[in-house]
């Protein structure tokens, strides 16, 4: 397979690229034929190339689009609609300062009191340009979590996650994402090491393929070996996703006997709703029963949980509410009080345990608006246009 097609001779230089009328080029550009060399004229390679080209042409003729990544399989439900990822308890204040928009650069200070899992103080810095994304958070115990993404091209991104703290062993995760025209490949390694004579750590590979314009299927394999003394674990899970634009259904069958299904629907352009069901043959991980089973006791019984939630987006606020079959009702309201200040309220009532949790947060952002104005002005000056009347 030839990697990158050489640039067409018609394109003058890369420097003038932005000044080219790109909109007129779209769709009209045909792939330039490669210069004939030994590598594509000898009979063996030309045969292989022709075969590959015809397969590629067949695939292109199907008009499939990229299925998205495995990570985002049920993103619409579990990350957009549900508030589980945003929930917090206690009091919290975030002060964010933006210094630049392109490249994006901002720092933030987060203070928190009475929270179960948030540190009293954390400092975060974030930098992103077209290729690079770097982010780091350090808290008052000096534990660091860092993230680095580097885009080699539009379709190929390497990612690195690091977590280092004084009390726990360090964690490194290396990841590479390949987004093809109708498939996605993701390769992941968690704490990979060859120091003990053979591979230790966790390696995950996943492949997701579009079959029709809305249906995509995929599978994920995991190989994990904690120490060369013990046999390694291998697990395969299967996933599927059906995206009909106004609604999305996805399902996962994991090797440990967990079945997950979710359904997302856009009710109006301001309201989204989602439902997710999880059935586990081994009991819920982390539950008292699962722990007893680990000790070699109780027989596993299947357990399930279903959650239904909705998200309302208003002009100045976002409201998320959800209820699950354990009798947990929770809501989260984010409201922008002034342009730089927003207030977050989080509440949860657990009816089965008869307990409640509550969280209140303030978010201050500074610099954003001035920067936007500044940048606009710069842009207008650069293009020689008049600054628009406000």
């Amino acid at each position: 397979m030839s990697a990158e097609a050489p640039a067409a001779p018609a394109v003058p230089t890369l420097g003038n690229f932005s000044s080219l009328p790109l909109t007129t080029l779209a769709g009209g550009v045909s792939k330039p034929t490669p210069v004939p060399t030994f590598w594509n004229t000898n009979p063996v390679f030309s045969y292989v190339n022709e075969a590959l080209d015809s397969v590629a042409a067949r695939r292109a003729a199907l008009g499939l689009s990229n299925p998205g990544t495995m990570e985002n399989l049920d993103k619409e439900v579990s990350r957009d609609v549900f508030l589980t990822n945003y929930f917090f308890t206690g009091l919290r204040a975030d002060l964010t300062k933006a210094f630049s928009l392109n490249p994006a650069f901002q720092v933030s200070h987060a203070f928190s009191i009475g929270s179960e899992n948030m540190p009293p103080y954390a400092f975060a810095a974030f930098y992103a340009n077209d290729q690079l994304f770097a982010q780091g958070t350090v808290d008052n115990d000096l534990s660091l979590s860092g993230r680095l993404h580097y885009g080699w091209s539009k379709n190929s991104t390497s990612k690195m996650n690091v977590q280092i703290s004084k009390a726990q062993p360090a964690m490194v995760q290396l990841e590479h994402d390949i987004l093809g025209p109708d498939f996605s490949i993701n390769l992941k390694a968690l704490n990979p090491s060859f120091l003990e004579g053979s591979f230790t750590g966790v390696a995950v590979g996943s492949y997701l393929q579009s079959l029709t314009s809305s249906l995509s299927l995929g599978l994920e394999t995991m190989y994990s070996s904690q120490s060369p003394m013990y046999p390694a674990d291998v697990a395969v899970s299967y996933v599927g996703r059906y995206d009909a634009k106004s609604w999305i259904a996805s399902a996962q069958v994991q090797a440990q006997g967990v079945i997950m299904a979710s359904f997302w629907r856009k009710v109006t352009d301001k309201v989204e709703a989602g439902i997710q069901t999880q059935i586990s043959a081994m009991g819920r991980p982390g539950s008292a029963q699962a722990q007893a089973m680990m000790m070699g006791g109780a027989q596993p019984t299947p357990e399930g949980i279903a959650t239904i939630g909705a998200k309302y987006e208003f002009r100045q606020s976002v409201f998320r509410g959800q209820i699950d079959t354990d009798g947990k009702v929770s809501c989260l309201l984010e409201k922008r009080v002034l342009p730089p200040v927003s207030v977050i309220f989080a509440g949860e009532i657990d009816h089965s345990k008869n307990s409640a949790r509550i969280g209140l947060g303030l978010q201050f952002e500074s610099g954003g608006e001035e920067l936007m104005q500044q940048q606009q002005q710069q842009q207008y000056e650069a293009t020689g246009q008049q600054f628009p009347p406000l």
């Binding site: 210094f99 630049s100 650069f105 930098y127 860092g146 120091l195 004579g197 053979s198």
Partner: protein
């Protein structure tokens, strides 16, 4: 995937990993701050960069 490393190499590699872990631990945030500070167009002064209070 058997890979036999001599005791020496193994020690050297794990020392290298230890050093790089410390370097990342204390250098990552300063690295991002430096990157952002040099790349943002009006360079913010350092007090503005590190203080949590909004400065106009």
């Amino acid at each position: 995937m058997a890979l036999s490393l001599s005791e020496d190499t193994r020690e050297r590699v794990s020392k290298l990993l230890d050093v790089s872990r410390v370097a990342v631990h204390y250098g990552w945030i300063p690295f991002i701050l430096y990157l952002g500070w040099t790349q943002s167009l009006p360079r913010p002064n350092l007090i503005k960069l590190l203080s949590p209070f909004p400065t106009a």
